[in-house]
């Protein structure tokens, strides 16, 4: 009986983390590119855009996830029609993950040697070519590493979301482990989470290493 629930919890966690991280990946990379290239001396220099976006990212990054989740309840209801369940959790998770990942990706993009950008300009690259053929490929190992960290952080946050009714492993640990003092379930969930995080971290590290040709 509880094994079925456990299985459901794993699937829910995967769903929440997977969907929100995927959206964070799709939105976060362009956000990071804009943050880097619109800065002073960047190839698309636009100080005002840079300031506004930077402030936005900082605001969402500084609100603790639990508070962000509660504060976003009206917005979540507007988007998915409910504040309960896996899909309701995806909204705050995505909103937390996107700026988080964007900042990490931004650091990797910023670390791309300015000489490479200069070389690309000298060879007749347009600005979009520089983003596509230079900035992104050169920063890719760092971006993969950053996405790994984002995934692990989102597993962490999804457990928090579970505690207020989103489902997933966090929900199971909370209900069985905390409310019913069922140590067996609690331990199983912990082991599952440790394994999950370890697998993601290992996979991410391997991939980043393989992509790194430096």
């Amino acid at each position: 009986m509880w094994l079925d629930r456990l299985w459901q919890g794993v699937i829910d966690t995967f769903l929440m983390v997977g969907v929100s991280s995927l959206i964070a990946l799709i939105l976060g990379i362009p956000l990071a590119v804009i943050l880097v290239t619109s800065g002073k001396g960047g190839i698309f220099e636009a100080p005002n855009v840079n300031r506004v976006l930077g402030a936005f990212v900082n605001i969402f990054r500084s609100v603790p996830f639990l508070i962000l989740m509660v504060a976003l309840i009206p917005f979540t209801r507007l988007i998915v029609g409910t504040t309960y369940g896996v899909w309701a959790a995806v909204v705050p998770l995505t909103i937390a993950a996107t700026p988080f990942f964007a900042r990490i990706a931004e650091v990797s993009l910023r670390e791309v040697d300015h000489g490479l950008i200069e070389a690309a300009q000298a060879m007749g690259c347009r600005r979009w070519h520089i983003v596509w053929h230079v900035l992104l490929p050169e920063a890719l190992p760092g971006i993969v590493g950053g996405f790994t960290i984002t995934l692990v952080t989102m597993i962490n946050s999804s457990a928090m979301a579970g505690a207020i009714g989103a489902g997933g492993l966090g929900d199971i640990a909370y209900r069985y482990g905390y409310q019913r003092f069922d140590t067996q379930v609690m331990l199983t969930v912990i082991v599952l989470l440790v394994v999950l995080v370890a697998v993601i971290q290992l996979g991410g590290d391997r991939l980043a290493l393989r992509l790194n040709k430096r």
Binding site: L116, A119, M123, G124, R126, V134
Partner: protein
């Protein structure tokens, strides 16, 4: 091609319209790159910093042109105004008589494809193979795949890296990386190649091979090479003409043999010092300002600047002195077919006065002076 062939002809027999003649009559030449009253001011933290001022300079088609100066002299800024990686604050850069200041992104991209550039730290894409690095400029220009393939293979062969197609830059030596840089810079068949301290990160042997490659490219493809360096040896090795830059101004310019044989400005002399035969220390300590007795040898420093186009005539020199002459130190080297250098001679038992010795020495050497006496 023409310019190259003609450039290798002796200076004495200029053919019409040759680069050599253009050099003799600069007012007739249509400069490939012309700087006109160029200035560059940076906004520094402690107010504006002047990097370049009042630069007037013509660079001819097909020549290897050197820009030398100490670090911070403005070399980097100057070379970067040619492909507008650097925007001048005042004055003009004309390429084939066209002012590039007003170019929009399209025209700028077009211009940059006519100008290749190589860098001190190579600036290769670490995530791309050698092949992809060289292919990149063609790819972004929308060149069809088959054509790209042909061109990249051709250039990797030119630089001698046909067996490194799939290597990543991190797997290459410094010299190989610069060869990739050169292949990448030449992939659009540019008419100008800019070299930004291209050999400064390389060991002497690799430097020689890269300079050799650049010279070969200049002669085979006839492109104009403009290089900046802080090493006089690089200038001596491949340049036709040189300017010496100091605090953003041109302080000396001319054919390389001239600047090497007879540097006028203090900065040029300082930069040349490592290449010159300084007085050896043991001689320095023995040297006296006055002769100790009548048999003391006079130490003469004869400088040959190559301006007469002849090699030092030793027999004429020795018989003119009419005494015992020993060679203490020195030597000549050949730059652009001219012999130049210093000879330190000790003359004793000569019946001639010091003034007479110097007068006779000056018939052979362009400069002569007495350094002192040794017993």
């Amino acid at each position: 091609m023409n310019a190259t062939v003609q450039r290798s002809l002796p200076l004495e027999e200029p053919t019409p319209h040759s680069a050599a003649q253009a050099r003799l009559h600069p007012e007739k030449a249509n400069a490939h790159v012309r700087f006109s009253q160029l200035g560059k001011v940076y906004e520094g933290q402690q107010g504006p910093v002047t990097a370049l001022q009042g630069i007037d300079l013509d660079i001819e088609r097909g020549e290897v042109f050197g820009i030398i100066g100490r670090s911070g002299a403005g070399k980097s800024s100057l070379i970067r105004t040619i492909n507008r990686l650097e925007q001048p604050s005042s004055g003009q850069v004309l390429i084939d008589q066209v002012d590039i200041a007003a170019f929009n992104e399209d025209k700028l991209v077009e211009l940059r494809r006519r100008i290749g550039m190589i860098f001190q730290h190579f600036n290769l894409m670490s995530a791309k193979t050698v092949w992809k690095n060289v292919e990149l400029p063609l790819k972004v220009a929308g060149v069809p795949k088959e054509q790209r393939k042909r061109k990249v293979a051709e250039l990797l062969e030119l630089v001698g890296l046909q067996d490194k197609h799939d290597a990543y830059p991190a797997q290459l030596s410094g010299g190989q990386k610069q060869r990739v840089g050169i292949a990448r810079a030449l992939v659009h068949d540019p008419e100008i190649l800019l070299c930004d301290e291209a050999t400064s990160a390389l060991d002497p042997e690799t430097t020689q091979s890269i300079l050799g490659l650049l010279r070969e490219i200049n002669q085979r493809l006839g492109l104009t090479i403009i290089l900046i360096t802080h090493e006089m040896a690089v200038i001596r090795e491949i340049c036709d003409r040189v300017v010496v830059l100091e605090r953003g101004r041109i302080v000396e310019q001319g054919p390389v043999w001239q600047v090497f044989g007879d540097p006028q400005h203090e900065v040029s002399k300082t930069l040349l010092a490592p290449l010159q035969h300084a007085l050896p220390e043991d001689l320095q300590t023995r040297l006296q300002a006055q002769p100790s007795d009548k048999h003391a040898s006079i130490v003469l420093d004869l400088q040959f600047t190559g301006s007469d186009g002849n090699e030092p005539d030793l027999s004429a020199l020795f018989s003119a002195f009419g005494g015992r002459v020993s060679l203490l130190h020195g030597g000549v080297e050949r730059i652009q077919g001219r012999a130049l250098g210093h000879l330190l001679l000790a003359v004793s038992h000569s019946p001639l006065s010091v003034e007479e010795l110097l007068t006779r020495a000056r018939k052979q050497a362009q400069h002569a002076k007495v350094l002192g006496y040794v017993a």
